[in-house]
Each structure stands twice: as C-alpha cells, then as structure tokens.
Amino acid sequence: MGQLNPSPPGKDDVEEAVARFGSEMYGLALAITANLHDAEDAYQTAWFDALRNWTRIRDVSKRRSWLASIAARSAIRVRRRHMLSSRLRVPFSEASALSSVMHWDAELGAAIGQLSARQRAVITLHYGHGFTLDEVAVILKLRGGTVRSHLARALASLRVHIGDDRG
C-alpha cells in the first residue's frame, strides 16, 4: 500500500486505520454501488474525505462508524453519478456486478443486487458490519423506523428473488 496523502494526520495512525477498516469500507461501498469499478472510486474518495477531516474525530472509538458513514455517503454519490451516466448509455460490465463479486454465494449476490441502494446499505451495515439498527440509523442519517422498514422490505425482497430463482 502506498503512502497516503500528506502529513496533517499521523501517518501511522492513518495506515493503521486503513489496515483495520479498509476492508469494511470497501465492502460497504461495493454493496451500495453494486459494481466493482464504482466501489473502487467510492473507496478512494471516501479515504480522501476522511483524511481531510481526520482531526475532527477525536474519539477513536467512534472512528469505525464515522468511516462507515463517510464510505456510505461517498458510495451514494458515486452511484448517483453512475445513474446519471447510465442515461447516456455508459456500458455496464456484468463481470463487475455483485453476483459475480460474491462468488461464494452468487445467488445471494444476485438477489442483493436487486435491492435499492439504501436497502443494500442497511443490510450490509447490520449483517456484514454487525452494527445495531440504531447505529445504522446514525450512520446513514435516517430515522430508526425508516431503517427497520428498509430492513424488512429488503428481507422480503430477498425472499422473493431467491424463491423465484428456485421456483
């Protein structure tokens, strides 16, 4: 891994955070964008944003959820840009889709790919990262009830998609 952008934050501090939370942030970006290329873009941008504001987060114990929040926002921005580009018929590579990325459970990956970005964000933060639903609400800046509603709809949708595939 290369040297990270400049000096403001301590280099060791940042590299430790990258090593510790990098995978989670990348996974979250991947889940929200549902596309490898967009996820890499969002991941890079998220770290850039995090480094710019590194000194704002003094409580190290909150760093994980803070980084998750930045990664989620970054992924949402990238996805929005992708949606705008799609109107101009930008080709989309199937190989980079979530079903291919989640090769250990491609069926689940394909079903998750059918969810909305917000639903994907909620289930990834809850089941993948292990955040409670209240923590997910804080990270995504949503109400607790809204998060629960998204989770319920996501699970219902997953049942339908996986049921359809088998039916």
């Binding site: 290369g2 995978s23 890079q44 689940l108």
Partner: protein, 262 residues
C-alpha cells in the same frame, strides 16, 4: 425466513466486507486538481463557443429572426435585452439529417425569445435530490445551449437567497457531465405533451440539473431565476420535500441532453 436466513446473510455479507480493498492511490486523490480541471474545461468550452460564434456570425450576419417568448404557467420571462422582431423568418439554409442519438450541438446559440422553460422531473434518494429545469425550443430554427447559465435561488418575495455552486464544496465533487452543448430543434407539433415520445414532435430538449443533498432544501426557496440567451426566466420551484435543502448545498451542472425527461 423460508429460503434465506439471517445466518446466510451474515455469512454472505461478512465475506463482502472482508474482501481485500484496492490499494489507495499514492498520489493525493484530488490535490488541487479539480480547480485546474474545471478551469481547463471551462476555458475549452468558452474557446469553442467563441470560435463557433465568430464562425456563425461570419456566415449569417444579421438574419436571425426572433419571435416573442411564449409564457407558460410556471415561467415568467423578462428580458434585459429587447428582441427586435424582423418581418420575415429566415428559412434554414440546408436540410439536415437528424442523428440517431442526441442532436449535435451545432447552430447558433439559443436566444431567450425562442426558449420555453419549465420545471421538469425531480428525483430523490438517500438524502440527495435532483430537479431538472427543462428548456424547449419554441422558435423557428434550431439552436444550441452551451455551458452553465447563471442561476439564483429566490424566496417567495423574490429576494436572493443564494447562488448555487458548480461544485459540491464539501466533497470537491463536480456534478458535471462534460459536453459540447445541447442542440435543440423547434417544437413543431403543437399540443403534444413533453415527455418520452420522440415521435410526437419533441426533439432536442435540454435540461439544467439542479442537485442538492443532505438535510433537504431550505423551505424558503420559492423560485429559481435563470439567465440564458440574453434573457431572464423565473421558474417557480421548491427544491426537495420535508426538511428542504440548505441553499449552500445546491449545485448546478452545465446544460445536459434531456430528450426523454418528462
């Protein structure tokens, strides 16, 4: 759950969030560059516009016909430069072949007198929203919209609230799809509702995307004032719902093709 249990979800998503991330760029992601890139793009666009304008003026000295603007329910155009009508409409010099995709950005720049401006669709998700202002050619000749117009957000009494930026200052994100301008054809079929119906006579709509994020929009925003083609249009609009967006998080892009936007 019948076919999918929480354990399977947990396993599947844990695999996702433990994937090896790509290495971070060694160079700063955006050192200052977006300022430079933006300036470069704008300079290129302005240079092209200047060259085209000079070329067009040289070819068509003063034969541009203008027609009075048509007001719609939502648009109140006022002109800082009064159009001077000429008795005869200059026909198009040569027929052209419509392309299969968006119209190429050729022809003179659109003037306010030939434009109809209305509020188009709005979309929102995850704390972000976008509202399109749609421009239609109601004149008698084709024209081109280029660059980013001057936009102001006004309150209900017409007072200036803010001027949207062309970049998202918080993140440095530039909401720009670079293009060389948007070509418009006159809307020849009267009575056809604008929308995804290119056979119905709509060709070459342009849009001005207005994006906003996080926290919705200031409920004080009551209208948007746009200066384009030597005139000023005021479109009644409230951005976002609920809490509304902060005026300083509203940002705009250059004109975009919008043939299929309702």
């Amino acid at each position: 759950m019948a076919e999918i249990d929480e354990e399977r979800l947990r396993r599947g998503l844990c695999g996702l969030v433990t994937m090896q991330p790509p290495p971070l760029d060694t160079a700063p992601v955006r050192p200052v560059p977006w300022v430079g890139r933006f300036a470069l793009v704008m300079a290129t666009v302005m240079l092209l516009a200047a060259v085209l304008t000079v070329a067009l003026l040289a070819r068509r000295p003063a034969s541009v016909a203008t027609t009075p603007p048509r007001a719609t329910a939502t648009v109140a155009p006022t002109f800082s430069v009064q159009p001077t009508p000429t008795p005869a409409v200059t026909p198009l010099p040569t027929p052209f072949t419509p392309p299969t995709s968006f119209l190429p950005a050729v022809g003179p720049l659109c003037t306010a007198s030939q434009l109809e401006v209305r509020l188009g669709s709005s979309f929102g998700a995850l704390g972000n929203g976008i509202t399109y202002v749609i421009f239609t050619d109601r004149g008698t000749r084709r024209c081109t919209l280029r660059g980013t117009p001057s936009v102001q957000l006004l309150d209900a009494r017409g007072r200036l609230l803010s001027t949207p930026a062309t970049v998202d200052r918080a993140s440095g994100y530039i909401p720009t799809l670079p293009n060389g301008g948007v070509g418009l054809l006159p809307l020849s079929s009267e009575g056809v509702a604008p929308g995804p119906n290119p056979e119905g006579g709509i060709r070459g709509q342009a849009s001005l995307p207005i994006q906003y994020e996080d926290g919705g929009c200031n409920s004080a925003i009551a209208s948007i004032r746009i200066r384009v083609g030597g005139g000023t249009f005021t479109v009644r609009a409230t951005l976002g719902g609920g809490l509304g967006c902060q005026p300083d998080t509203v940002f705009i892009s250059p004109f975009q093709p919008a043939e299929f936007l309702p």
